[in-house]
Symmetry: C2
Subunit: 188 residues, 2 copies
């Protein structure tokens, strides 16, 4: 058994947390892999809110969701994740959220996530997160602008009150090409 990649470990952590019927967030739909993973866990009685600023990502994901019979429980939203609050009721709880920070693989590398909007969205997810719930951030930072976002996110999560949240960092530290690492924030 090999050590899991950051991306794979994010799924390992979320799987036992998410129950059928839950509301969860895919803050960066991208290639839709996480959206489909989440849709399978929440089931037909649950709800995935998936955000992306690129229509092409949403269209491709919508097609995959239809093919896998999971379109019903997913709301794909063509808006920045910093506006997440507009799509949740004030007292609505979520059990999980996933972020993939960086750019959409195989797409325009100048369209990237940015610290300010990422932190707004993270803050919103944490305020809706139920006890035991997890927000997972897979941080790609090898691209231009990636280092700044990585630093800002790390600074933010390191300051989360340890009585309210556990903040785990998981990543490989001997690789030449900066592989993504995982930050997992769990509400106690």
């Amino acid at each position: 058994m090999n050590l899991e990649s950051a991306l794979s470990y994010s799924h390992t952590l979320l799987k036992p947390i998410i129950q059928a019927g839950d509301t969860v967030i895919d803050a960066t739909v991208g290639n839709g892999h996480d959206t489909i993973f989440l849709a399978g866990l929440v089931g037909h009685s649950g709800q995935v809110l998936g955000f992306d600023v690129q229509q092409v990502a949403l269209d491709e994901t919508a097609l995959q969701l239809q093919l896998t019979g999971q379109a019903h429980q997913v709301q794909l939203i063509h808006d920045g994740h910093q506006n997440l609050d507009h799509y949740l009721a004030p007292d609505q709880q979520i059990s999980a959220a996933i972020f993939n920070l960086g750019y959409l693989p195989g797409s325009d590398k100048t369209i990237i996530t940015h610290a300010q909007t990422t932190l707004s969205a993270l803050d919103c997810c944490l305020s809706h997160l139920r006890r035991g719930g997890i927000v997972a951030l897979v941080v790609y930072y090898g691209h231009e602008g990636g280092e700044a976002e990585k630093t800002a996110v790390l600074n933010e999560v390191q300051q989360l009150d340890q009585h309210e949240f556990q903040v785990l960092q998981y990543g490989f530290i001997n690789q030449v090409h900066q592989p993504p690492f995982l930050i997992a924030v769990q509400r106690r």
Copy 2:
């Protein structure tokens, strides 16, 4: 399900790696928890080599091993782990090793592990490690001298060739009292 502590996650990683009949190393016997964990995994046909410089730690662990019927497969060695090579045949393979860096809880806080001897022992374990095997280091560093050892170990493992080894770091980053973190080195 809560996020696992570094110590607990070291066991989660090692459990599927270690088979009955394997030879494994407990480089820092201490309170014996890891020794007993390893003894259970290798079984009567396997072998645990357990090192400690404090006789009291070995005596206490010997007693626990007898009580749990696992004394047969454990060799407790009153020697520094930097001399590990004296106890392994040159071509002997190990599937795992555990280090707890720092001091023995509840004991003399001035008897601590040190960078130089830790790195010698680590080097020896890696040279005997079979493919897929894991060396787990649980790094306590809140005590005097801990920061220097932590830095030396991190520098060393970050330089391991990524084609030969994967080096994972796992730890909590928002806690005031420096909790231990885990380094897991797996041979590819």
